[in-house]
Amino acid sequence: MDNPSIRIAFRSLISLAFAGVAVTACTTHEYPGRRANDAGDSSGVSAVAPSATSTSAGENVTGATAPTGPGWGIPADGDWTTQGRDYANTRYSPLAEIDTNNVSSLRIAWSFNDGVLHGHEGTPLVANNTMYLVTPFPDIAYALDLTKPGAPIKWTYRPNPSPIAIGKACCDVVNRGWQLADGKLIYNLLDGHTVAVDAATGKEVWRTQVYDVTQGVTMTMAPVIVKDKVLVGNSGGEMGVLGSLTALDLKTGKIDWQATSTGPDSLVKIGPDFKPFYSWMQGKNLGETTWPAGAWKNGAGAVWGWITYDPDLNLIYAGTSNTGPWNAQQRPGLNLWTSGVFARDPDNGMAKWAFVFTPHNEWDYDGVNENILVNLPINGKQRKVMVQFNRNGFAYTIDRATGEVLVASPFGHENWASGIDSVTKMPIVVPEKKTEVPGHWVRDICPADIGVKDEQPAAFSPRTGLFYVPVQNICMDYKGREVSYIAGTPYWGADMTRHVGPGGNYGEFIAWNASTGKKVWGIPEKFLVYSGVLVTGGDVAFYGTVDGWFRAVNARTGKILWSQKLGSGIIGAPMTFRGPDGHQYVSVLAGVGGAAMVTKAMPGFPARGGTLYTFALDSAVPAIGQTSAPGVQGSQSGGSSNGAQAKGKR
């Protein structure tokens, strides 16, 4: 149950809660070269290396590699055109101008405030020397011109979605991402529509109503474009929705097929080709018969997370949300296919296999987290796998052709399951942590509803062979409540309070070996690590914290190389691109919100924001900084417009 390395890590940290004093733990490295601007960092960061794992440059320590080749959606090396950067969702960029030796001289090149103060959970995109951004509700799209100093606005698109959606979104009015395909910027509106916008002009090409917001259905996920299909899913796991994945035509926006997460096989798109690996998922109409009569109709299984795609197997992988209502007593049965993942044929939606991580989910452990596709050795044999860091606290390495679970082990603190059954791969639930009988408090269930990891996406480096994962250390007291379904209102049935897990740090940033199911190193953080991750060819991993620290880490050793405090908490994922000047830039959105707000009572919790920060090496910034001030004619000798700061180490 308890990963020994994690136990050591927690034991070696003095519990501080919110004291804000730097921790010096007996087993940690006091890493040299801590920079002056880390001193103000109160999170008591220290790299915890349970086993000495410094890797020599260029060494792949696990043998895991990223799939490559045509069809994997890998953009030109300087671009970033889809949220996960490629169909495998590695969030790895080969750019290497910024590396472990020079990243400490990163500084802000320019910034952009989008004027919206809700949670910013997306990743900026870059193509054609243009950056594309979409705000949280009201879902405004911006194109910024990277060829001009300061990246001014090229065009703005305002879709004006219905404000009814504000009251139907459980966890802030976020947008998790937008994609570029076929000369269009494609994204979902909170009010249940998908839009396609001409990437060159910002003019709407098509808009399709996919879901009905009056029934409590919203859309927050990032569409994924596979061949001529735009794949989208719904949100509303707390609203008694019927979860589904929908394919739209890329050219017209017309709905092509839809597959539900619950209900009879005909709706779920289960046919003769459906071959789940485990016997308890084999049978007819299980999406209907593993529920009380009719309960599947409000059983959630919303498809609000990330979608990955294997072009060789022609399979898409999309998780399903928690089970509705949270109160499990109202729905005896395994409640398939919620809290799981489907492998489907993108052409017609037909399911090929499924796996349910948390059957009869009593804790809100969704299955929607990203399924990162890699090839790695298991017992000496190279396997095509997907890796999911599930909300329930277990990291699963699964054969992506068959759905066979190869590795499942805790990647953070959990106490609700004592392990995973070796035959069925079902969690072995600790009886004291069952919430099924409503009306009484069940204390200290770890993780809390938002999981050991929520939707914030991890990254994978084909250079190191490691996964880089944002981890949450949060627990809950939970009380189930009777609830009745009223359309358009929450179908929830739980009362809860949350608290920090053992050790007093809400967050951690870890490196993970998916072949062995073991943590390689970890960096504890006082606040939640609710940002996505970027890892680069320079062996630098970037992540951010809910209190606004943006950090660059040596991807091999876990040593923090650079930290910058931003204007708000970071819950989006960083990205990197090559600018028109040939230099490498790193961008991230800072705007706290989303599920990170569950910790808003913490002292020092930041204010809302909505700012994009773009960084470059100190030596590269003048390339765009040396511009004449507006109105100055003919003088090329002017000081740079960015304050003409003295160069050198600050």
């Binding site: 504000i166 979104a169 409540r481 009223i486 209102t489 929450p490």
Partner: protein, 194 residues
């Protein structure tokens, strides 16, 4: 549809309304006499719908001062039995899911503080519950009787953040003071977050 049947006071009407909601139309329950038990409001009649209809949402430019807010009182204000009944409705109608079991907010706003998007006087609270509001508040007038809505309003008023009718105009101006005596308790002024 529902897993757990509740005994609604106006069950047939509720069902019709719920179905109406499902098919996306809004219809009020017509022809329901308001069956107030004698003395439940101390003999005070419920405010008339025709009067409530003249309560404006927000502050209308160019309008003469609207005195309705300061004159429409909730007959159930401070009535322990009504507040309890309102609290039961607050759970049963899923209000708790958005506003929280402690009414301190979640998907929906905090109902215990003195910040009101659409006004915190009894008439404005009643209308917000009855008509719904554009950021996600459903229109409960289609599912509940006026009597139930006033009991819910009494429950919300009892949470301590609302403006008593007499002080509705000051509340609109943000003149909350620090400790204004109200019929139901103490109106909290600005408070720093914990």
């Amino acid at each position: 549809m529902t897993i757990h049947a509740f005994a609604f006071r106006s069950a047939p009407c509720f069902r019709a309304a719920a179905i109406a909601l499902l098919i996306g139309s809004v219809q009020a329950c017509k022809g329901q006499p308001e069956l107030l038990r004698e003395g439940s409001t101390g003999g005070i009649p419920l405010p008339k719908d025709s009067t409530l209809a003249r309560v404006a949402l927000g502050d209308l430019a160019g309008s003469t001062r609207n005195t309705l807010l300061t004159s429409i009182k909730n007959p159930y204000e401070g009535n322990t039995g009504a507040i309890e009944a309102g609290g039961e409705l607050f759970i049963r109608m899923n209000c708790v899911a958005c506003h929280g079991y402690d009414a301190r907010g979640g998907m929906g706003p905090d109902l215990t503080d003195t910040y009101w998007r659409y006004g915190g006087s009894p008439a404005e609270i009643y209308k917000s519950i009855s008509e719904g509001r554009p950021q996600g508040m459903p229109a409960w007038g289609a599912m509940l009787t006026s009597d139930e809505l006033w009991k819910l309003t009494a429950y919300v008023q009892n949470l301590g953040g609302s403006f008593p009718a007499a002080l509705a105009e000051q509340g609109k101006q943000g003149n909350l003071g620090t400790t204004l005596d109200t019929a139901t308790g103490v109106l909290k002024g600005r408070q720093s977050e914990p």
